[in-house]
């Protein structure tokens, strides 16, 4: 295949990945990796590098809007970044020594887990009383709703959430993904932060988390400009198109369809990984 053909296919594929990633809530990075490795036979290290670049672009792009609206809890984000950056550095170092088949299998399993997690029903829960540690760290906050009201919320189980964030960061460094599913578990399920705040804060944190592993990726040669350019542009525009549709429709049926599609891709990755084909 010539580089021009490859670039055009990538651009289209990355657009679809960003689009599906945004509609399914999984993120574009996690979908671009199977696309590159299974369909276009790109080495998984290059795929991880390109995915990480697209994660930084999409997360910074969407975080910009939420920060301005005051939904993002910046203190919470920066505090948890200690955990995610340490995790990301460990994960990136691990990815340089781990066998390719191990990375492929782990990636497939993470993909299955994220797909199932995206279908789970999300209940809103607001704790008013923060734990003492959360109070010392000033992690409680407020966010504005659509009708102009201000909702206050508290936080609990800081240590549990912090540890889970370390794991989220490690998966991010190891696989080049934003690991939104792990971050949501840490913030929603463990720390009891409202859904709106946890998704936007997780987005806010992704750039810095990815940055911590990107330095190692650059030094090891994971960042291949010829792959990154179409991927990052395609994913970003795909994610923007997806976000526009999300505002207008409730994509419940789409979500189930995409989750099944992703499940098939994931099983394929695990299978190829075990057989040593990736």
């Amino acid at each position: 295949m010539t580089i021009l053909t490859f670039t055009l296919i990538m651009l289209l594929g990355a657009f679809l990945a960003g689009f599906i990633g945004s509609l399914s809530g999984l993120g574009g990075g996690i979908i671009i990796i199977p696309l590159l490795t299974i369909i276009l036979d790109v080495d998984i290290h290059y795929a991880i590098g390109a995915a990480l670049v697209s994660v930084i672009a999409t997360s910074s792009g969407s975080a910009a809007a939420y920060v301005k609206e005051g939904i993002t809890n910046m203190r919470l984000g920066i505090f948890l970044e200690i955990a995610t950056t340490i995790g990301a550095v460990c994960g990136a170092l691990l990815s340089t020594i781990a066998p390719t088949s191990f990375i492929a299998v782990l990636f497939g399993l993470t993909l299955i887990f994220s797909a199932i997690n995206s279908l789970r029903k999300k209940e809103e829960h607001i704790v008013l009383e923060s734990s003492p540690l959360a109070k010392n760290l000033k992690l409680q906050g407020t966010y504005p709703t659509h009708d102009g009201q201000v909702v206050s919320y508290g936080t609990k189980n800081v240590i549990g959430g912090f540890s889970m964030m370390g794991i989220a960061g490690m998966m991010s460094g190891l696989l080049g993904i934003g690991s939104g599913a792990f971050k949501v578990i840490a913030m929603d399920n463990i720390m009891r932060i409202p859904f709106k705040v946890s998704t936007t804060t997780s987005n806010f944190m992704m750039g810095v988390t990815a940055m911590a592993s990107s330095v190692i990726y650059i030094q090891k040669g994971y960042i291949e400009p010829g792959i990154c350019m179409p991927v990052v542009i395609g994913v970003l525009f795909g994610a923007m198109a997806g976000a526009k549709i999300l505002v207008r429709t409730n994509p419940k049926k789409l979500r189930i369809f995409f989750a099944c599609l992703i499940f098939v891709l994931a099983v394929n990755m695990v299978y190829n990984g075990i057989n040593g084909k990736i």
């Binding site: 940055m211 190692i216 090891k220 010829g226 990154c228």
Partner: protein, 135 residues
């Protein structure tokens, strides 16, 4: 009276920092992607008909300063590939600037606990750079 004045002042500070950080993230992404896009066009004009080979990973062991020197030299010589790389490095720098901005924001608010927390994050990122030298 005095107290409320201080509070509105602080609130204004936080709000304007949110706007600055929001703008930084937005323009950071668009500027770096424009650079990468121009690089992509140049790259395709010179190498569009070459045959790609991305199926085998070639591991590098260059430290970040060697990479940056190579990128700067490449951009000067008009290489599309390095122009894309330059755009990607700009993209990576966006969150770094964001962290530095939050550091200033906490300094102005005199929130020293969060000044320290932000410094820890910066330290971890610097440590990650040093891994390029150790092996």
């Amino acid at each position: 009276m005095e107290k409320s004045k201080v509070m509105t002042h602080e609130k204004f500070g936080e709000k304007s920092f949110q706007t600055i950080i929001g703008n930084l993230l937005r323009y950071g992404v668009w500027i770096s992607l424009s650079v990468a896009f121009i690089g992509g066009i140049v790259y395709l004009m010179h190498h569009g008909n070459d045959i790609e080979d991305y199926s085998v990973f070639k591991e590098n062991d260059r430290n970040i300063f060697e990479v940056i020197t190579a990128v700067v030299n490449g951009v000067i010589s008009g290489s599309g590939e390095f122009l894309i790389f330059f755009g990607i490095i700009l993209l990576f720098l966006t969150p770094v600037f964001r962290v530095l901005l939050s550091l200033f924001s906490f300094l102005i608010e005199k929130d020293y606990l969060y000044v320290i927390i932000t410094l820890i994050v910066i330290l971890i990122i610097i440590t990650s750079i040093s891994f390029g030298f150790s092996h």
